[in-house]
Amino acid sequence: MKEGLGFVMGVNLIIWCGIAFYLFVLDRRVKRLEASAEDQGKD
């Protein structure tokens, strides 16, 4: 592997992990809010 390529790949992977983590957290929060909105609708 050429010099510097591993570093760029690592940066890309870190950015992707950050994006994926953010999306997973956001997904969970939205799911929770949807559940509470549904409960409010039932009340």
Partner: protein, 223 residues
């Protein structure tokens, strides 16, 4: 959840494969040709997103269902985001290859016009205070805006001379290395799946915001 976990792993595999599995294309300085695996899928997703926004707008205008407007707005937002990403990655490539971040190349110029057209879409939405009228205006504008997309993305760069590498890195080119083609197609799939996830998430958020606004109106009516 399984689909999202698989996507997270798949995208990581694509990133690793784009650096380790493939060889840099000849005729480009250093490793710059590897931008193909990120820049082209971003541009593809932006185009797809603008198409979905147009379809959502048409459905809204025909049926007046708020969900169709949520789809149109979410798709326009994500299309804009991916268009900006494609512009930034393209600029980095341009700096290394052509010596300047911006060269007013037909492709660069047409993508800026596209960004301005969709920037005006958001300005229009926020300028009209009545939500119903805002949706109708935005729906009509979105359909008109999409008419320019094929022209700006596919026609303009092909009828003028451009610095943009068209033949060497075009996947339709039979000269493309099979390994590169595999990773490229994998990247297209990963970006499309990521886009679907983000679009669905944004639509759900808009729906929740809509419910919240409705509740606030109810509360103020009761008072």
């Amino acid at each position: 959840m399984i689909y999202k976990t698989l996507l997270a792993i798949w995208m990581a595999v694509i990133i690793v494969a784009s650096f380790l599995f493939t060889e840099a294309a000849t005729g480009f300085p250093g490793e710059t040709s590897r931008i193909l695996f990120f820049h082209v899928p971003q541009a593809w997703v932006a185009t797809l997103s603008f198409l979905i926004s147009m379809i959502g707008s048409a459905v809204y205008l025909a049926k007046r269902t708020v969900k169709a407007d949520y789809v149109a707005l979410s798709a326009a937002e994500l299309g804009f985001l991916f268009c900006v990403l494609a512009t930034v990655t393209g600029s980095i490539f341009a700096k290394v290859t052509w010596g300047s971040f911006w060269n007013w190349d037909p492709r660069e110029t047409s993508i800026v016009i596209l960004l301005m057209i969709y920037g005006a879409y958001f300005a229009l939405r926020s300028a009209v205070s009545d939500p119903e009228r805002s949706r109708v205006f935005a729906g009509v504008y979105s359909i008109l805006a999409f008419v320019t997309v094929p022209f700006l993305v596919f026609v303009v760069p092909r009828i003028t001379t451009s610095l943009h590498p068209e033949n060497t890195m075009n996947p339709a080119n039979p000269g493309m290395d099979p390994k590169t083609l595999k990773v490229f197609l994998g990247s297209l799939l990963a970006y499309t799946a990521l886009y679907v996830w983000m679009l669905r998430l944004r639509i759900r958020i808009l729906r929740l915001e809509g419910l919240r606004v409705r509740d606030l109106f109810r509360e103020s009516d009761n008072k």
